[in-house]
Symmetry: C2
Subunit: 341 residues, 2 copies
């Protein structure tokens, strides 16, 4: 048949390498994949030819022929508040850099949750959070695509997941504040469509009740994680007649906003208002009062997730399934003080 006239200067293929090296393409393939044995002399010649021709194998052809894929998709659901958060960038950074090291191609999917993913595009999928897109995960699972979920604990699906102890982290904040003598503790929550935010709220509630404090609804304010809403929440809280003496904020970036508002309204931090954030965002370090916060191992979570997925993808044997919850850690800095009684 007539070949399609290619416009672009056709780049050289494994065949060219084979010819130049004076071996068969099978041999070239062997040295490419570092498997099977090739006489050292031939290896060298092939490697030489590859370098000389600047040969790069076609990923598509490799995938098609081998059935394997070294492409990992990172699926991030698009929702209103997602880009306010420090955390998206941390995730991308963690996974992106590890991918380069592992020679894995990273397919980024910012999805609107209801569209279906191209499951054949990748050999494995990392779901970063699950927000309205459980069906995407289920589809992928049904199609037999290896999956890992991070930042979300999914109990009822047979899938690996790695999340962070938001509940425990939040509870420890309350315990800490109580230990400083606080009894009027408020909470500014993040977007409750995220599991993280709702677990932090839950942890707050748990902490309050375990410490035999009364849970006051007016002390709980829900936001979308944005600084704008944090500002409103802070104003509302501070202007209350019976205002809280401490506030646990669901993200550092919001906590910093709360701190700013407090100052503007003439409150001293931490003397008049103790503030605790969540994230361990480096920005928290720079103000005049370093922010007490909860450190969560985001990069580690992301990278563990990728490693697990990689194992899933490259082994034929079924791997054991894990539902890991990584510990969080209270980082005490300067934004809280004991309450004087």
């Amino acid at each position: 048949m007539v070949r399609k006239p290619s416009i672009a200067p056709k780049s050289n293929s494994i065949e060219d390498v084979a010819r130049l090296a004076g071996v068969s393409i099978a041999t070239v393939s062997r040295v490419l994949n570092k498997q099977g044995s090739v006489k050292e002399k031939n290896r060298i010649r092939v490697l030489d030819a590859i370098k000389q021709l600047k040969f790069q194998p076609s990923v598509s052809a490799q995938r098609l022929a081998s059935g394997r894929s070294n492409v990992v998709a990172l699926v991030i659901p698009r929702y209103e508040g997602m880009f306010y958060s420090f955390y998206v960038l941390e995730l991308i950074r963690g996974i992106g850099t590890l991918c380069e090291a592992l020679k894995i191609d990273l397919l980024l999917q910012l999805t609107d949750s209801r569209s279906l993913l191209n499951l054949k595009g990748a050999g494995g999928i990392i779901f970063a959070d699950l927000i309205g897109n459980r069906s995407q995960l289920e589809d992928a699972l049904n199609a037999g695509v290896p999956c890992v979920v991070i930042n979300n604990h999914v109990e009822d699906l047979k899938v690996n997941c790695i999340s962070v102890d938001n509940l425990g982290g939040a509870e420890s904040v309350v315990n800490y504040l109580v230990s400083l003598g606080h009894k009027k503790i408020a909470h500014i929550s993040g977007d409750l469509i995220t599991q993280a935010a709702s677990m932090r709220l839950e942890g707050y509630r748990l902490g309050i009740s375990k410490n035999n404090l009364s849970l006051r609804q007016e002390y709980i304010i829900k936001t979308d994680y944005s600084r704008g809403q944090a500002r409103q929440a802070a104003e509302k809280l501070i202007k209350m007649p019976d205002h809280p003496t401490a506030v646990f904020v669901s993200s550092d970036s919001m906590a910093l906003e709360v701190m700013a508002v407090a100052r503007e309204l003439g409150k001293r931090v931490p003397q008049d208002l103790s503030i605790v954030g969540f994230d361990d965002n480096p920005s928290g370090l720079y103000g005049p009062v370093a922010l007490t916060t909860v450190r969560q191992p985001l990069v580690k979570m992301a990278q563990e997730g990728l490693k697990k997925l990689n194992a899933l993808m490259s082994s034929d044997k079924p791997q054991k399934m894990e539902k890991a919850i990584l510990p969080t850690e209270l980082i005490i800095r300067e934004s809280c003080s004991p309450i004087r009684s």
Copy 2:
């Protein structure tokens, strides 16, 4: 004789669809690619079969057979300060969402600049900024891969680029401050390995000299874009015996830090110190004093770049080459005031 079903749930191929629909695979391919003509009745049957089988074509096979690729790589060089910036996220957001709409697969490469890219992995490449990785771009260009550079103006390479008028933006800031009567104007620059930061510095210099002010080296402080260094810079500037009355900061996030420092040191903003940022980061809106800044069309830049690349990739004809510089816009809010004389 009946074949045993294979263990692995081998997903069905175009052949299965063809069989179910009672047509040839060529016909299926035609409806898949919406090209060539297919009798309406057959179209329906094929579409039906596809739905029924939940068929998704193999991207690799499509690419291999057609020579085309709907994969776009976004190359972001990894450097120290990159993740401080609002801008990376905006870029990813702009390109990521448009990719979904255009059914383009996005390959994200956070590269360490010296490693070579897998040029066969994508049909086109967007370089977001060029930081120590010009050779990657040149390699891609030489290999005939369509490329677009965003956020960096490359004069000496035959490549499309779309950047933002950092120079003009910076100059307009100085002009504005001068119009308010300021004569002692400082600049806190970002990481000068980025073209954006160095053009802003250049624009500042230009503005100063065009307005016949003297350029004072001690008024120029270089940072890595982090809030930490912004804080140090601000302290240094404010504590100078002959301190500036206005400061132009190379990013909003740093400008906010400067504002915070000023307040801590007892300066009123804008009465004692006028501050201008760069980015139009929404965070700038929330403080007690809304930040005057320079708006740059990041999302637009990213999306225009992707569109251009897409055109390059899907047309056989050579496209005209463009070096666009999108205008920036001074957004006057509350952080500057006229100087009393």
